[in-house]
C-alpha cells in the first residue's frame, strides 16, 4: 500500500507509531528493569530505584543464590523434566497425529471427536488428582509429565500438517517394501522438521513453566522444579504469606536476589525465543484451522 500523504493520514501515522512504540516499551521494560536490578548491589537499587542500566555492576545476587545447591537442584529438575517431557510428548503426539492423518485408519473420526471433546469438557482438578493418585504417581517426576503429555491443540496442528504431505510419497515407499513405521520415521518426520520444531518448543515451554502440577502432585520440596522455588523465594520475601517450607531462620532475600532468581527462570526462554519466533506464528495459525 502507498503511504497516505494527507494531513489526517500523517497525523494518524504519527499517533499510531508513537503509541505502538510506547506499548512495546512498556511490555518489555519490566524485563529490562528486573535484569538490570539483578546485576547491581542492594545499596545501588535502594538509592536509585529506576535502574534500567546499572551504574554499579555486581554479581552478588547471583553469587548468593548459587551459594547453596537449592537453585541448582531445582534447575536440574526443571531441565530434566523439560527434556524428557518434550521427547516423550513429541513421540506419542506425532505418532498419534500421523495415525489420525491417514485416511485408512478406521475410527479416526471417532477418535478425533474424542480428542476435541476434551477441549470443551474436562473432569477437573479433583478427579484428575485422584487418577494420578490411583496410578501411584504422587511425588514422582512422572506426575509432572504424564498428565500433560499430549496437548489436543498441538496434536491437531501436527495432524493437519501430516495430512498435507502428498500421499504419493507414502504409496511409493510402501511399494518399496516400507512398513508404516518406516514411512513415518524415514519419510514423514524428515519432511516435517519445521512443524516438529515449533511443537517441540511449545511443549518445552509448557514443561519449563510447570507450576500447577508441581504443587498438586509433589509433596517433597527437594523435588520442586524451578517455578515453585521462584514463587517461594519471591512471595516469601514479600512477607505476604509465610511458608513453612523454607527455613525460617534464613532472613528474607532482598530485591536484587529476587530479581536474580526471576532472571534465572526467564533466561532459558529468552534464549530460545529467537528460535520460537521463527516458527510459532505459523504454528499458532495452523492450529486455528478446524481439525
Amino acid at each position: 500500500m502507498i503511504e497516505d500523504r494527507t494531513f489526517g493520514g500523517r497525523l494518524f501515522s504519527a499517533f499510531n507509531y508513537t503509541l505502538l512504540a510506547a506499548i512495546a516499551l512498556i511490555s518489555f521494560l519490566p524485563f529490562v528493569h528486573v535484569i538490570a536490578g539483578s546485576f547491581t548491589t542492594s545499596a545501588e537499587l535502594a538509592a536509585n530505584k529506576f535502574v534500567l542500566i546499572p551504574k554499579v555492576w555486581s554479581t552478588d545476587a547471583y553469587r548468593f543464590i548459587f551459594s547453596t545447591n537449592t537453585i541448582f537442584r531445582a534447575m536440574t529438575v526443571s531441565v530434566l523434566v523439560t527434556l524428557v517431557g518434550t521427547l516423550f510428548s513429541m513421540l506419542i503426539s506425532s505418532m498419534m497425529a500421523y495415525g489420525l492423518s491417514r485416511r485408512d485408519l478406521d475410527g479416526r473420526k471417532t477418535i478425533m471427536f474424542g480428542v476435541v471433546f476434551t477441549m470443551l469438557f474436562n473432569g477437573g482438578l479433583i478427579p484428575t488428582f485422584l487418577v494420578v493418585k490411583e496410578l501411584r504417581l504422587i511425588d514422582t517426576y512422572a506426575a509432572l509429565i504424564l498428565p500433560i503429555a499430549i496437548s489436543a491443540f498441538n496434536l491437531i496442528i501436527l495432524k493437519n500438517f501430516f495430512q498435507n504431505i502428498p500421499e504419493g510419497l507414502e504409496e511409493s515407499a510402501k511399494i518399496d517394501g516400507c512398513n508404516d513405521f518406516g514411512i513415518f520415521f524415514r519419510i514423514v518426520l524428515p519432511l516435517s522438521m519445521p512443524v516438529l520444531a515449533t511443537i517441540s518448543l511449545f511443549y518445552a515451554v509448557t514443561y519449563w513453566n510447570t507450576y500447577l502440577n508441581a504443587i498438586l502432585y509433589l509433596d517433597s520440596s527437594d523435588k520442586w522444579p524451578f517455578q515453585v522455588l521462584l514463587r517461594q523465594i519471591v512471595v516469601l520475601a514479600s512477607g505476604i504469606e509465610y511458608s513453612s517450607s523454607l527455613d525460617a531462620a534464613v532472613p528474607p532475600p532482598d530485591q536484587t536476589v529476587k530479581m536474580a532468581v526471576i532472571v534465572v527462570a526467564t533466561l532459558p526462554i529468552l534464549l530460545v525465543y529467537p528460535l520460537l519466533q521463527k516458527h510459532f506464528a505459523k504454528g499458532a495459525l495452523l492450529g486455528s484451522i478446524k481439525g
Binding site: M1, T6, G8, G9, S13, L19, L20, A21, I23, A24, L25, S27, F28, P30, H33, K49, F50, I92, M96, A97, Y98, G99, L100, R102, D104, D106, G114, T118, L120, N122, G123, G124, L125, P127, L130, V131, L135, N179, F181, F184, V205, T210, Y211, Q227, V228, L230, R231, V234, V235, I240, M259, I262, A265, Y273, L276, Q277, F280, A281, A284, K290
Partner: protein, 322 residues
C-alpha cells in the same frame, strides 16, 4: 479407566454378527496394524488422563472416601449440589469468578483486535517486526514469572511503581494486599502476557484482505479510520466471533495459576475464584466430593455456554466453531 471397561467386549461382539463386514474389517485392521500401534499410546493417554477423570466426576454424587474407592463410597444424590447453591461462600466465589470473566471480556478481549489494527497500519516493516517481537515475549513466560515480576515491581518496600508514586508526591499503594487493587492488577497482567500474542490470529485474517478494496475506498475519499471501520473490521468479523465463542466457553476457566499466585489472606474476599476454591476445599481440606461437584458445575456451564454461543453465531449467519 473403569469407564473404558466396556469397549473391548463390544469390539469382540461385533464380528460374528456381521461375518463378511467383520472379516473385511479384520483384514483392514491387520493391514494397518502398525498404524494402530502408533495411535494406541495417544488413545491411552486420553482415556487415562482425560476420560477417566470425567468418569471420576461420579464422586460428586457420592460421599467419596479415598480408602473406600468409587465402588465402596456411599451415594448421596444431589446433596453436594444442593450445598453449593445454599452456601453463601459459594455465591461469593461464583460472583468473583463472573466479575473477573466480565472484566476479561470487556478490558482484555478488544485489546488484541485494536493492537492488530494498529500494527496493520504500520508501513515500516522493521518497526512492525520489532514491536511484534517485543509484545509476544510475555506470552512465553510462566504465570509464576509474570506474577513474580509483578510482586517485585509493586511491593511497598522498594518496588519501582511505588517509588514512582512516592517520587511524584503521592501516597504509596499496597497493590499486593488491597482488595480494591486485585482486579485491576489481575487484568493488567493478563493484558501484558496475552494481548500481543492474541494479535497473531487477527493479523493473519487481516493479511488475507484484498488490497484493492482499500484502493477503491481511498478513491472515494475515505480516510484511514474509515477504511479500518468499513473494510478491515468487517473482514475480520468472523474471526472475532469465533474467538468470542471460545472465550465464552472459557467463562469460568480464568486460569488457576494466575489467580492463585495473586491470592493472599488480605484479598481473598475478591480473589477467591472457583478454581482456587476447588483446590483449597478439595485438596487442602479433603472435601473431594464437594469440590468435585463444584468442578463439575464449572465444566458443565462451560460446555453449555460454548454450545449456546455457537448456536447464536450460526443464527447470525456466521460459521461457528464446530
Amino acid at each position: 479407566m473403569r469407564a473404558t471397561g466396556g469397549r473391548p467386549a463390544e469390539a469382540a461382539l461385533k464380528p460374528p454378527a456381521r461375518m463378511r463386514a467383520g472379516s473385511e474389517l479384520g483384514r483392514r485392521l491387520k493391514r494397518n496394524k502398525l498404524l494402530y500401534v502408533m495411535v494406541l499410546p495417544g488413545i491411552l493417554y486420553f482415556l487415562i488422563f482425560k476420560y477417566a477423570p470425567m468418569y471420576g466426576l461420579v464422586i460428586s454424587f457420592q460421599d467419596f472416601k479415598p480408602y473406600k474407592g468409587i465402588a465402596g463410597s456411599d451415594w448421596v444424590g444431589f446433596k453436594h449440589f444442593e450445598r453449593l447453591f445454599t452456601e453463601p461462600d459459594f455465591l461469593q466465589i461464583l460472583s468473583n469468578t463472573l466479575i473477573l470473566f466480565g472484566m476479561n471480556l470487556l478490558f482484555f478481549f478488544p485489546v488484541p483486535i485494536i493492537l492488530a489494527l494498529m500494527l496493520n497500519e504500520v508501513r515500516l516493516s522493521l518497526f512492525k517486526r520489532t514491536v511484534q517481537t517485543l509484545i509476544y515475549i510475555p506470552h512465553f513466560m510462566s504465570w509464576v514469572i509474570i506474577a513474580s515480576i509483578g510482586y517485585v515491581m509493586l511491593t511497598m518496600d522498594g518496588g519501582i511503581v511505588n517509588e514512582l508514586i512516592a517520587y511524584f508526591g503521592f501516597e504509596k499503594i499496597n497493590f499486593l494486599l488491597s482488595p480494591e487493587w486485585f482486579r485491576p492488577m489481575y487484568i493488567l497482567q493478563v493484558i501484558w502476557r496475552e494481548a500481543g500474542w492474541g494479535t497473531i490470529i487477527y493479523m493473519a485474517a487481516i493479511a488475507s484482505i484484498d488490497l484493492e478494496q482499500y484502493e477503491a475506498a481511498r478513491m472515494d475519499g475515505a480516510g484511514r479510520l474509515r477504511q479500518i471501520w468499513h473494510i478491515t473490521l468487517p473482514a475480520i468479523r468472523g474471526v472475532i466471533i469465533v474467538l468470542l465463542i471460545l472465550k465464552i466457553g472459557d467463562v469460568l476457566e480464568l486460569g488457576f495459576e494466575h489467580v492463585y499466585l495473586l491470592l493472599n489472606s488480605m484479598n481473598r474476599d475478591v480473589a477467591e475464584i472457583i478454581d482456587t476454591y476447588v483446590y483449597t476445599a478439595g485438596l487442602k481440606q479433603q472435601q473431594f466430593s464437594y469440590s468435585a461437584a463444584i468442578g463439575f458445575f464449572k465444566s458443565f456451564i462451560g460446555l453449555a455456554l460454548v454450545m449456546l454461543a455457537n448456536r447464536l453465531a450460526r443464527k447470525m449467519g456466521e460459521d461457528g466453531v464446530y
